[in-house]
């Protein structure tokens, strides 16, 4: 396809992102603006921003690629990423906002009154954030390489630079506007081309991609359409491990959680989450359609292992001519919006933690936040260049597994179980983080395994999450004397509606 349209599209998205960010810079004055947009974002805008931030390279490119390559069981990824928001809604949304803390480590320290838990949480936030940023930069390199033939590191560098400029000058205030814009851009970038593609497909006789006769890369249509067949030898275990990681991992992702502090109150936090559920549902219907049509029109992508680019290439392959090039340019623009928005959110979250817990003493306020943002972007950028053999969806999947094995139990038990102690939390975080971290290291080193070892290490959540929960409960019960002194006051603050006048203890900001 002609690359000039796609390059123009990428540049336009980058410029629009900077322009909208610049509009937000004018409002960013205080530290509170930088970290939480002064807690004044309304549900409709905030929900678009959350949607924009959450739909990453894995959602925009990865899902279609996985569906194209492996079939129906990969639909569990988008389903789980949406269900993760439902779990977040019912288990943590309102109490987390009412806790009044800035970041996950703030929550941990506030609830458990222990500096050690805070430090460990900070470490995990930075680790998960970097693990999730790395594939965003890799995806950007892959996409720009596909449409413009550049080296893999160019795309990552471009995304890193744009994100850094925005975060540097506007913090959360300007990022909120940018991300809300990017949700709608991403939706348009998939919705408009898919209509043309469906018209072409109907015109060609509407062959079902699931037809038994449709054979691609040695996989017949009915194997592809079976929900328990293709990706692994241990399909039932793998499927349930994906379900556990995605359903429970969402609430533990640092960039998702940090967004909740921008809601005005707990009730707004719930309503925002409900709108997000709707927005995600609308979006996630689209990528699998690209994957399914790709089976009919772009089977050569499977053979060459470039399934992640199906969203970018399919419009040009199916429509052809100038129209196809323009539609492909539109999906490329959407992909860059995905890299930019998710990277921005992650950078904010990681920078917030780094500036508070590492740099706090040397720099002050906004300065410290800006210095931390540089660190937050540069490290995963280098990682992305070093480890370019790990697939986009794979690395994101591992970030979810680590989040589900560490922050999910910490949040759920911390909010709903008053007997959680600091010792229990530390033990649980170490067990969950250690076991899932083992799988991460194994993947980054790109070792090959067989049979059950492979299944357990590629999808660790199904055993590491229960292990983390169990450890937290058992150790907490064994150390009842370490109950935090103000646990009752904290529980009151987490759960009572704002309308009731109560002593909630000192409010942080």
């Amino acid at each position: 396809m002609s690359s000039s349209y796609a390059i123009t599209a990428v540049l336009l998205v980058s410029i629009a992102t900077l322009a909208i960010g610049a509009y937000g810079w004018r409002f960013s004055r205080t530290t509170s603006d930088f970290f939480v947009a002064s807690r004044s974002v309304r549900p409709a805008l905030n929900a678009s921003a959350i949607g924009g931030e959450y739909l990453s390279a894995a959602s925009f490119l990865g899902v279609a690629g996985l569906v194209l390559a492996f079939g129906t069981d990969m639909l569990w990824y988008p389903v789980g990423w949406t269900a993760g928001y439902l779990m977040l809604l019912v288990l943590v949304a309102a109490p987390l906002r009412r806790s009044g803390a800035y970041t996950l480590p703030d929550f941990a320290e506030d609830r458990l009154e222990s500096l050690a838990v805070r430090r460990l949480s900070s470490l995990l936030v930075v680790g998960i954030g970097w693990l999730y940023l790395m594939p965003q930069f890799q995806g950007a390199g892959l996409s720009l390489g596909t449409v413009a033939g550049t080296e893999p590191w160019v795309g990552g560098l471009l995304v890193g630079a744009v994100v850094l400029v925005n975060v540097f000058f506007g913090g959360m205030r300007s990022i909120t506007l940018v991300q809300a814009f990017q949700y709608w851009l991403k939706l348009t970038a998939l919705l408009v081309p898919v209509m043309f593609l469906l018209v072409v497909w109907t015109g060609d006789g509407a062959t079902s991609p699931a037809d038994a006769g449709t054979m691609t890369a040695g996989m017949t249509g009915d194997v592809w359409a079976s929900p328990l067949a293709s990706a692994s030898d241990h399909a039932l275990y793998t499927t349930y491990s994906i379900i556990v990681a995605t359903f429970l991992g969402t609430m533990g992702l640092p960039h998702v959680v940090v967004r909740f502090y921008t809601n005005p109150d707990g009730r707004a936090a719930r309503r925002t989450t409900l709108v997000v559920l709707g927005l995600l549902g609308i979006f996630y219907i689209l990528p699998p359609v690209y994957g399914a049509l790709g089976r009919l029109y772009a089977p050569e992508l499977i053979a060459s292992g470039r399934t992640d680019t199906v969203v970018l290439e399919l419009p040009a392959l199916m429509v052809g001519g100038l129209g196809g090039d323009l539609l492909s340019a539109l999906t490329t623009a959407g992909a860059f919006a995905a890299f930019l928005s998710t990277s921005s959110g992650l950078t904010i979250a990681v920078a917030g933690v780094v500036s508070q817990d590492v740099m706090g003493r040397r720099f002050r306020g906004v300065r410290s936040f800006q210095a931390a943002a540089v660190v937050a972007v540069v490290v995963p950028l280098l990682l992305a260049i070093a480890a370019d053999g790990v697939g986009v969806a794979r690395a994101v999947g591992l970030a979810f597994a680590v989040a589900a094995s560490t922050f999910c139990p910490l949040l759920v038990l911390g909010i709903w179980w008053r007997k959680l102690t600091d010792a229990g939390a530390i033990a649980g975080l170490l067990v969950g983080g250690g076991l899932s971290g083992l799988a991460v290291v194994d993947t980054l080193l790109q070792r090959a395994h067989e049979g059950w070892t492979a299944a357990l290490l590629t999808q660790p959540a199904a055993w590491t999450v229960p292990a983390a929960f169990l450890t937290m409960v058992v150790v907490s019960l064994a150390t009842p004397r370490r109950l935090p002194a103000n646990v009752s006051r904290t529980m009151v603050r987490l759960h009572t509606p704002e309308a009731v006048q109560l002593d909630r203890g000192p409010q942080p900001l």
Binding site: L75, W76, S208, L228, M491
Partner: protein
């Protein structure tokens, strides 16, 4: 008016004031003081919200997370076609999303009702 002009005003009070009037004890003050009764009110709110969350999770757990197990138990289901598409596709590709939204909507309404009831009880007393 200078302080020494005229007789000094004398306030006449009952000696009983120093004993204090019986004050109305509100539930909010009970919760603030972390008394036994305050804890009971808090525990009941917590239990109501947790039961609600459990109900929502169980609904999703059985009807959505149960799907792979159903497909594994009844492999014939995967060959059923609805609207020209395989059943797993219809369920996982399209139908789950409105379902999640409905569960979320019902949950938000019920959670806000729990909080409203709690606020009523606490502030009425």
């Amino acid at each position: 008016m200078s302080p020494d002009s005229g007789p000094r005003r004398v306030r006449v009070t009952s000696p009983r004031t120093s004993a204090g009037r019986p004050r109305r004890v509100t539930v909010t003050s009970e919760i603030d003081a972390q008394t036994r009764i305050g804890e009971i009110y808090m525990a009941s709110l917590l239990r109501a919200q947790l039961r609600l969350a459990g109900l929502a999770i169980a609904t999703v757990g059985v009807l959505v997370a149960g799907l792979p197990f159903f497909f594994w138990l009844f492999p014939g289901l995967t060959r059923v076609h609805v609207l020209g598409m395989p059943l797993p596709w219809v369920l996982l590709g399209f139908a789950v999303y409105p379902f999640f939204l409905v569960v979320g909507w019902v949950y938000v309404r019920a959670a806000e009702r729990n909080e409203h009831d709690f606020a009523d009880v606490v502030e009425r007393s």
